[in-house]
Symmetry: C2
Subunit: 622 residues, 2 copies
């Protein structure tokens, strides 16, 4: 087996109560790498087209990468994938913490879950063994109780648990998979797929070591990371975690306010990570092997009790549950965030669907009758908390909103549609596509819908900074202004996203400022493969193209690679934002993107491109 891998994956068929260990060969690993690469491969080759994502025919994949569980900071991650119940397309999300490492130490590189258990179960994986365990007693429990119960009954406090709370059980379409109680594989509804399989949790524990090919180089790299700790972004992350730039985000126009409607927000500092530190923070935690420790832990006693075992809000949650709902009550945001983690629902989609409901309410499309009396105005912190809970429970209006904005707007009616801010059904995360033009393109074309994890944040290449210095290693030699959406920006976008997708395969945290040269050295040191940045970039391109083929097969067309009307219509804002997105320019950019990717004018990969990416076999799925 190749270094950095166990050479084994676990295939669990819950319908048949079958567990099988499968070997993968080295060429397979080298070609698809891990994480999102495995997800793309298995979804494309093993799923029947057009299946219901919540049926037993869907498969749920947990995948680590070669770097997961090594001593490299940023390697404490794993990927979760399935056909998405939110988008009906390629679903994939990554999560930090310790679970992925534990899976690797337990002897497996990935798990493929098939079928549906007759009654609730959980999976217990330990040192090369796997068992399907009864979970009747866990069903209905919130995540904190689940983890405690499992650890108790297995008699091991170090068991790591990936799981769903009631949100996943209730098939909230944007339910997430929660790991270590506070980390979420958040996007695309992977928790709903887990719920549909009657799979409450996957508990893992292992004692083997992940062997690297070049141990001394591994030590050098890990030690060398200490230099990167002084990088300004890393030291800010270390001090505050994400979300410590709310004021400048508001100033620049990047901070979504009131369902992406407004450009004005009373007090961005009220929801800033610096404020979190001053007021509700009781600690910082991190992922396996990472000294950055960027994860806030918050505790609130009144007016709402917020339990610190559930961590604290990241930037995305601060904005989604905060400014985008017009809420500047930090404690309320912390509470809503805690509920998301207790119920295992994605805080981004939750905030977005509530913001959608608020705008509907303010426009008289939802009434007190619909809301059960909740005054759903922007800024109503109590309504935010209440509605978050209702979504997790699928009660009242929460049952409608649990469908996600796209389906909810279909239920609520035509008039609500313009307030449904999503791409392909995935709610838009908390970076403003009108400001960041490549991000706008990225939201439009990402296989997962509006996703900030397959995307470029243009700000990093608009002046000579770290991101641009890194990109110069790939031949992007000059700064590219924010407002630029010309081919040179698209080229930079593609190069950047290729590598970002590779991070999702390796799995390596996007936050840590490993240069492309260092990342290449990391892969070499772990696997022993004499690889280059060329081979690695091509893996990113390969995986993006496989995910695209998955969506083409599901019936997605060019029209699905598009943004909500709101982002093009300056009249559809209250404050008259200074920034705007030109519809024709984005259309042209999409077409240039297709062409640069080797896809035809409808966004369908060309056969010769597949061959060039060493996935000629995938042509039969188009």
């Amino acid at each position: 087996m190749p270094f950095g891998y166990n050479g084994k994956i676990l295939r669990v068929n819950l319908s048949r109560d079958q567990i099988r260990v499968e070997d993968l060969d080295e060429t397979f690993y080298r070609r698809y790498m891990g994480g999102e690469g495995f997800v793309a491969y298995f979804l494309l080759t093993e799923l029947e087209p057009k299946i219901d994502p919540l049926s037993p025919e869907n498969k749920l994949i947990f995948a680590a990468g070669p770097v997961t569980g090594t001593s490299i900071p940023g390697s404490g991650r794993n990927s979760v994938g399935a056909k998405s119940p939110l988008t009906g397309g390629f679903g994939e999300s990554e999560v930090g913490g310790f679970w992925g490492t534990e899976l690797k130490r337990a002897g497996f590189d990935a798990i493929i879950i098939e079928g549906r258990a007759k009654s609730p179960v959980y999976l217990w994986i330990h040192d090369g063994e796997a068992e399907v365990m009864d979970a009747h007693h866990l069903w209905g429990m919130e995540t904190g109780e689940v983890q405690e119960t499992i650890r108790d009954e297995l008699g091991d406090e170090l068991v790591r648990v990936a799981q769903i709370g009631p949100g996943g059980e209730n098939l909230v379409r944007f339910a997430c998979v929660i790991v270590d109680l506070k980390d979420a594989a958040g996007r695309t509804g992977m928790g709903a797929v887990m719920g549909s399989k009657n799979l409450k949790a996957i508990a893992v524990r292992g004692h083997s070591n992940i062997e690297a090919a070049d141990k001394s180089k591994m030590k050098d790299l890990a030690r060398g990371f200490m230099e990167l700790m002084s990088d300004s972004m890393v030291s800010r992350l270390h001090a505050y975690g994400t979300g410590a730039v709310m004021d400048s985000y508001l100033e620049s126009g990047n901070l979504p306010v009131n369902n992406f409607r407004d450009g004005v927000f009373r007090d961005p500092m009220a929801i800033d990570a610096r404020k979190v530190k001053e007021t509700v923070r009781v600690g910082m935690e991190g992922c396996f092997a990472c000294p950055v420790r960027c994860k806030k832990v918050v505790k609130v006693d009144e007016p709402w009790n917020v339990n610190p075992i559930y961590g604290g809000p990241e930037y995305e949650a601060l904005a989604a549950l905060g400014s985008n709902c017009g809420v500047d009550d930090l404690k309320a945001i912390c509470k809503a965030n805690e509920i998301c983690n207790r119920y295992s629902i994605d805080s981004i989609s939750t905030g977005a669907v509530i913001a959608f409901a608020m705008e509907c309410y303010e426009n008289g499309i939802l009434t007190d009758g619909d809301t059960g009396g909740l005054k759903l105005n922007f800024g109503n912190a109590e309504a935010l908390i209440r509605l978050t809970e209702l979504i997790g429970k699928r009660e009242g209006l929460g049952d409608v909103l649990a469908e996600g904005v796209e389906k909810a707007s279909e239920i609520i009616g035509e008039k609500s549609r313009r307030f449904a801010i999503h791409v392909k059904g995935l709610e838009v995360p908390m970076h403003e596509p009108r400001l960041k033009k490549a991000l706008a393109l990225g939201y439009a074309v990402s296989p997962t819908g509006a996703d900030h994890m397959h995307n470029l944040h243009d700000t990093g290449i608009s002046s000579w900074g770290r991101m641009l210095e890194d990109l110069s290693s790939l031949g992007v030699l000059e700064p590219i202004p924010l407002e630029d959406l010309s081919p040179r920006k698209i080229r930079a976008f593609i190069y950047y996203v290729d590598w970002r997708v590779l991070d999702n395969c390796l799995l390596l945290c996007n936050f840590l400022p490993w240069s492309y040269i260092q990342k290449t050295e990391i892969v070499r040191a772990v696997t022993g493969w004499k690889t280059t940045a060329w081979e690695l970039m091509k893996i990113g391109e390969r995986v993006t193209t496989m995910a695209r083929i998955f969506n083409v097969r599901e019936g997605f067309t060019k029209d699905d690679d598009w943004l909500p009307e709101r982002f093009f219509n300056p009249k559809d804002t209250v404050s008259g934002s200074r920034i705007k997105l030109d519809l024709e320019k984005l259309k042209e950019a999409r077409s240039v993107y297709y062409s640069m990717m080797g896809w035809d004018e409808n966004g369908v990969p060309e056969r010769d491109k597949l061959e060039e990416l060493d996935i000629g076999w995938a042509a039969k799925y188009i």
Copy 2:
């Protein structure tokens, strides 16, 4: 100025007797690198379309690269480029030795020669200065005498001379530029362009050092090369130079015999480099900073005197002047090779055009009347020598053959055309495209015509050897059989050629087994740029695409990307070769190649591809 460069090029207008020093900025260097990259850039941006290659409107470019003149073995090279008088398209060739190093040490990275001198001149470049010198007294001299005279009159035995002999003066269309008397920038007729400008020589001498960014890494790399010396190909090169596998070449079907007609040759060992060592070899020489020393020096006293100052025959000369003319008289081959270097005519094209004449003669298309009584049968060693001289002098039949096989066959008549073995006018070099399928494609699509320096020798990837191990660094993970011409072979071909073109930009010898990882480290150590294999591969692709645009502008079409009829017609061989090339498969391969390159079905680069290659400006030349 960036490390590894002088930051300056010399522009010499011979019509106006003007010399100008121009500065280039770092981004320019990083984007186009040097050598073939500079040639492609300047020819594309500075030449008017459709000019006569032998008119003053053509420009002749001598270009070094960042690696030229450093301590890295394999770095003693430079490139020469112009619109080719042989093909009418992109002309470029590289040469080893010491001249490129001396040019860099004299303070320049490249020279652009414009116009035409009123009377013969030479250029004298020394330590940042340049002078146009009278060359009346040199005109008509053979190369040996020229070098001696220039060194004498400049009073410096260490002056390095790039020059033409009578072949260049006489505008033999395949005249080459001779460096250090025994090394040739052989292909595409650069010597004829030099002759058309009345430029007899460029003498250079300099005393500055090429500064590298990371001196200690440079030392490590140069020292580390000693390990590569034990590589089997390198040790063979060190012991014998090129051409020590004639028997296995004949056995496999790679050795061209009798104008690519036959598969049988009496005694391949008679023209093998091992035989050279046993019989006529008096020494081995090398290029600057290279311990391999692969260049034979031969001396013959009778029946022909062969002067050792002109080196000895490489594999290409042994086969072109030997087996391909049916000649197995090693001394005669050495003599013909010496004449090529004395007259500055390309030994490949010379051998090919003589083989063409021999086949015409044997088929009664040329008669004793045409040949001046020479019995031009295959195997006639004396006729070979005599005709080589006549070509250099443009006398008798030599004057017709000096036009190259394409134009000569037009003069001789329709019946001769099927014996003219060339692509785009460039005579096919000594590797058999019927055996090596990717090489066949490479001959067809190379911007310079049938050229082994922009090409892949398939044998290296048909089993797990060094070349394939290297290619695995780029993601080519499995051996690809010789007979394969499917998309996976084309992918490997493209990746390999991207890097080969990069070698022509850096300039680094193709023979030395630097891995792609080491080459990337070399560029980093020399320039200080934090570059990756991705950026470097893209330079190769960029330059190939620029050269393609040059040819598109000159009117080349898809039909010019094709091989002579002979290679498809098994009946057109005497011996009934076991190997064959399928016309339909090559057609399909060409189309796949275009598509993988981002070119349209006619081989014209797509606009978005240009943008992706960071040369959007080049669209206006299509």
